[in-house]
């Protein structure tokens, strides 16, 4: 009796400890970034381009660049991912081929992001001749997050009760309309959550954009999808390693990190809010 009790409390202590450790490291990281960065984040910092060899000024081009790249990636990956997932779960015969495709998609999710960067360089920048620009970067990031979106959509589609499909089909509604009018609306909250978490990832990646879209420095704000842009993750990399005045730019680095982390958390928060709104509307 006593031994069992001891084991149980030991186990409980371990679980608590690891949860605590996790929270502590996450919280520690955020606090550290905040304390080091918040003084740098002023209105000017958010609205001016970098100045004086990037030791002064702000990061507006990088913020806009990251926003455009991320939005572009979503515009590419969301429709493609949702359509692929619909095909895989609703139409394809569940056999060997579909299994192979699924394994392929999962492998794609595990490929290091620098490989996507090289692919983007080889295919979009050079082969298709887009050059280093928003379009190339967005397409590359889109492919990067495609597996996440396919996975999230597949899960969400599978979670829609089979009885909904039956009810609609039994009314003589075609399969396509059943998916469009019944299955997709029910799956929407799940699709959005999973996908937007993937989008957060796209905003933070450095390797895929450094060969395909990101400029070392440009004061000019992007005007078309064929412009090169600055981007937050790459800007951090540049400030921290490649500049000539690394120590002087330290506060700017932390400020940029803080903005990037804030942006990603903001996107996640947005996902949560959308999900709860959609859920409230579609209760069953």
């Amino acid at each position: 009796m006593r031994r069992r009790y001891f084991k149980q409390s030991l186990f409980f202590a371990l679980v608590t400890l690891s949860a605590g450790l996790l929270l502590f490291s996450l919280g520690g990281l955020l606090v550290y970034i905040f304390l080091n960065g918040f003084r740098a984040v002023t209105w000017d910092f958010l609205t001016l381009p970098p100045m004086d060899s990037m030791t002064k000024g702000g990061i507006l081009p990088a913020i806009l660049g990251t926003l455009y790249l991320t939005l572009g990636a979503v515009a590419v990956a969301l429709p493609l991912g949702i359509v692929s997932a619909i095909y895989l779960t609703e139409y394809a015969r569940q056999g060997k081929i579909v299994r192979v495709i699924r394994i392929g998609v999962n492998c794609l999710a595990g490929v290091p992001s620098v490989v996507f960067g090289l692919f983007g360089l080889g295919f979009f920048v050079v082969f298709l001749g887009f050059g280093s620009c928003i379009l190339s970067g967005a397409l590359t990031l889109g492919i990067l997050i495609l597996p996440t979106i396919i996975g999230a959509t597949e899960e969400a589609l599978k979670a829609v009760p089979q009885t909904f499909r039956e009810a609609s089909l039994a009314l003589g509604v075609s399969k396509w309309l059943t998916i469009w009018k019944v299955v997709l609306p029910s799956a929407l909250p799940g699709i959005l959550t999973g996908s937007i978490l993937g989008i957060g990832r796209a905003a933070g990646e450095t390797a895929p954009i450094m060969f395909t879209a990101a400029a070392f420095y440009t004061a000019k704000l992007p005007g078309s999808i064929f412009d090169e842009v600055m981007a937050l993750p790459y800007h951090i990399y540049v400030l921290a390693t490649a500049g000539t005045f690394i120590d002087q730019t330290r506060p700017l680095q932390y400020g940029t990190v803080l903005v990037l982390v804030g942006l990603v958390l903001g996107i996640d928060l947005f996902a949560i809010v959308i999900r709860s709104v959609v859920r409230k509307k579609k209760r069953w």
Binding site: A167, A170, G172, V173, S174
Partner: protein, 253 residues
Amino acid sequence: MEKDSIIETNRVHFYYGKFRALTDISMRFQKHRITALIGPSGCGKSTLLRLLNRMNDLIPEARVEGEVVFEDRDIYGPDVDPVEIRKKIGMVFQKPNPFPKSIFNNITFGPKLSGVAAKADLRNLVEESLRQAVLWDEVKDILDRSAMALSGGQQQRLCIARALAMKPDVLLMDEPTSALDPISTAKIEELVEELKKKYTIIIVTHNMQQAARISDMTGFFYLGRLVEYELTEKIFTNPSVKQTEDYITGRFG
């Protein structure tokens, strides 16, 4: 096909993969009659019912042999669109399954999407369908409210109304009252008897009294075979097969 029958199955076998769920079923379902399908659990009643409007198409490994004739055509023939069949042969399921939409939109869902009804007629169609399903008086002031807020019995009548809105020829019902309380059950039984004036109804039930009360014909199934198919009166008073008698008197199943 005989004059008074609407669906006929000819020597139908049905398989789930290698497992044969129905063996050699030949049955005539008569127009404007209520046919009850009874038998112990797992004997294939739902399988047969879902076969009649091709709902079994959804099951990947399922296979049908033999023919199911409806409107002088084998509905499993090569040029038949199952969607067209399901418009004419509606279905009500064991568990009420309204869509997470308003009451109004539940009813109009099928007619709108399959282009059966003109937009202007939708309101009339809703009223007519809900009246037929004896639900109108209870919901006429809350048509915009979510169907999920209705009680189980109301939801099931809504599902019946939803099926009726398609103006089908045949209504298939798979244990439509098994999830309901006695009062809702009585309401639905009354409703079914009323409906047979306009529709042909085929109903699966585990409730012997229900079968005896509402049906004109009864088929008794056992292990995937049709054991006896007769006038309901005859089945319940003087069955010709011993197995049938044992079942309806509650000696097994």
